[in-house]
Amino acid sequence: MLKEYLTVKEIVGPLILVEGVEGARYNELVEVEFPDGSVGLGNVLEVEENLVLLQSFEATSGLNVSQTRVRFTGKSLELPVSRDILGRVFDGLGRPMDKGPRIIPDKRLDINGNPINPYARDYPTDFIQTGISAIDGLNPLVRGQKLPIFSGSGLPHSRLAAQIARQSGVLGSEEEFAVIFAAMGITFEEADFFIQEFRSTAAIERAVLFINLADDPAIERIATPRMALTAAEYLAFELDMHVLVILIDMTYYCEALREISAARKEVPGRRGYPGYLYTDLATIYERAGRIKEAKGSITQIPVLTMPDDDKTHPIPDLTGYITEGQIILSRDLNRRGIYPPVDVLPSLSRLKEKGIGEGKTREDHSPLSNQLFSAYARGKEARELSVILGEAALSEVDKLYVRFSDQFEDRFIRQGEYEDRPIEETLTIGWELLGLLPRAELKRVKEEQIKKYMQRGEAD
């Protein structure tokens, strides 16, 4: 029998203060019964000898001080899991919302999880072919990586994320995979785009969806990514699947966190976000990875919109410090009609060195991508210069670089939304483009590689 309290003292935003409570525990799950009889969930943020501070996951409208009942459950927020969660749609707190049957749980898992022992981790080394040149060629994704997409409002990050989910596969492998999709605060239309996308490709059978929409309670979003990752850990490390987790949009998650922090009157860090934002985000992002001797893996693609396209805003900034690289979308490329508008220069995949090369993709992959990077950087610089001084002021070599970078954007970065380019083709295009530049400029690729691959490119 759960103890029930009618002693609510204060309600401030999402926070509820209850008096005279005995035996409450930090981070415990509570049930809050509204005066109209409906029941919501919350958890304990702080306990003192007879005072308990709760955060409610439901909107607190309709609560009052005198009639609200609070029950302490003695456990933390859990997600019931079994193989049957595949193909299902849940709300932000893990309750089925697709009119399907109730999940008969194999297990109930604490959504907060435990940190993976760094010694138990296995280093991600399996190249994932996404079929997108800007990613595969230059910033490749590997299994167990967390690689966010930094976007801005109005940019096609949803389409890109869906394309990655649709096309991703490891070269030469036929293992069981699953996609977990967690929506936090996005609009119905965006969520619908993904659901239709999963349905149309029949990927829904391999997917688990957690949906918290823009008009759902903001505080519920705090639990959503943790629900998704708990499901991911179950599928990856107990059922041996390779799981791709898409978290969209982390910006709204952080805003919910800020809301609670503000309600608690905590000393804010930058831009009003709590000082522990880094640690909190880390407890989400670090749940990606591989474990030694485990067959499955968790690869994370968090998506976030940068307020005002500002990479130094605390959310993208702290995310970038935790994740293993980032894919940044460019408004400029998008304006010029290039899809996917990946800004390759500031984009980065930290794990690429061990995921590519001989035996993984091809031995020339790494030097080729370095050469493309530096050539494109030089070309862009020269292009800016020509805007100021006119093309005539450029040296002959610089003119070639400008031509290279134009072609690079047009042929290498640009591709169709349903075009699944194999890595071989991506590399071939890369070599063809390098053919535009004088040999002496190609300092990052080895002589033998130029002979072996460029000539072949020319012969084709």
């Binding site: 306990v47 010694y119 293993e324």
Partner: protein
Amino acid sequence: MSEGRIVKVSGPLVVARGLANPKMYDLVKVGENLLMGEIIELRGDFASIQVYEETSGLGPGDQVIDTGQPLSVELGPGLLSSIYDGVQRPLDVIRDKYGNYVTRGVEEPGLDRARRWHFVPKVKKGDRVVAGDILGEVEETTVITHRVMVPPGMEGTVLQIQEGEFTVEEEVAVISTSSGERPVTMLQRWPVRKARPYIEKWAPHQPLVTGQRIVDTFFPIAKGGTACVPGPFGSGKTVLQHAIAKWADSQVVVFVGCGERGNEMTDVLLEFPELTDPYSGEPLLKRTILVANTSNMPVAAREASVYTGITLAEYYRDMGYNVTLQADSTSRWAEALREISGRLEEMPGEEGYPAYLGTRLAAFYERSGKVICLGSDNREGSVSVIGSVSPPGGDLSEPVTQATLRVVKVFWGLEDRLAFARHFPAINWLNSYSLYLDKTEDYWRDEVDPVFPDLRKEAMAILQREAELLEIARLVGVEALSPQERLIMESAKSIREDFLQQNAFDDADAFTSLRKQFLLLRLIISFHRWAQDELEKGKDIQELIAAPIREDIARAKFIPEDQLHRFDDLEKRIREEIVPVRAEVPSENRGT
């Protein structure tokens, strides 16, 4: 031992009442799982405790036990090749016993109790010994001999000592002191927040060779010195830290992964046993200790991890070794400090950081240094500290960077602009600095080549001149520059691309000896000097730029360490290619 009760739980902070005579920084055990914690504030009967483990499930009324001891680490053979969490629990042992996740309330000693070590005495019965004297030695790994020392504060005559196989807890010697007979084991404990004692500290003067060209040549760090590596994300802080951990010529490396990525620690764990130390030829892991408190592990233990790391470093320094401590990243440590401070409801300083951030950082970096160790043999040891800083948005005016710059002597400023152009290490050569440059100059002169400091100055002057010329070129175009200026631009480009840029993932390029650094720089500067000479004699700049030798200069960094004679051929070829047969030797070309 005294017992109290919890009255409040707020995240990693717990308040307890009823402890009998608690002291600041006492180690306590919290709740029925006996979670580790440390007392950080006392108010009347209330003690505030930062708990090193996840506090979910704790509540008022739970027990709190005061051990009466400060947080300490275990010191003795077996530290090398280990991986610990922030409070020295062995993560490998924990995984074997408790599974893939870090579970709570786990108590495992830092040193293996069952393992036996072969102890060889270095003193005999009847010898007089003082604190720090070496009683005997143990071959800890094939690279490092562990010296078992008389613990600080002990002095007397050796009553008993013997060779044999011992565990760390068994007594290897008995010393008769003024306060009676005292047994000595190989295991010693030391509180992490207290610096270990030494006889005297000296200003460092010898460079720590890192094999990284831009570091060793332009911005060297001394053995016993301090450096910081600030940079926005993606600018290569960790790659640089790893490169230095791999190639630095210190005998022992302590690597503290403080609030960073789990996969980075895995990378080190998987890579270091495979990589060979260029000095000893043995796997790097044999001289490395890892302290891993990743970003998702409890925040209070992150605060403790840098102290755990530096205490381990000081212990090996006391044996007479040169030790490098690397902390990645000190910003995460500062954030842990901020979080705890916020929970204590302290008045915040800048950006919410506590007002004592600066003093704590300074106190940490001051534990570095070159010292005369305790003991009667006057041996020297050093601890060099390299901390990375992760300024939000790459903005160096933020409190952690500023407080760090006030204490460290070397600043390697990383820039994302360089990283985007794949210029690695992305250290900006114009705003970085090293205050050890002058002090280490003699070493270069004596050990490498007398002309080296001049070469370096000339190279730096070329780079600085380039920055000015770039401004002009941007406004009026490259064509408007004079041939001499064009040459400066070309030579600067050559220094940047052929010298400063270094690929940490290329076998031949990852490590460059001082000798090769000198030869490579000399090659580039030789070309510059000869070309300058020829320009004055009226040769066309385009012809000089197009000289085929320049391509060989660009590839010279890939010349393996055992073929350095090839540099002489290249020097010769410069002359042959660009100087017509009249061949007068220009005056500056001494030594070529």
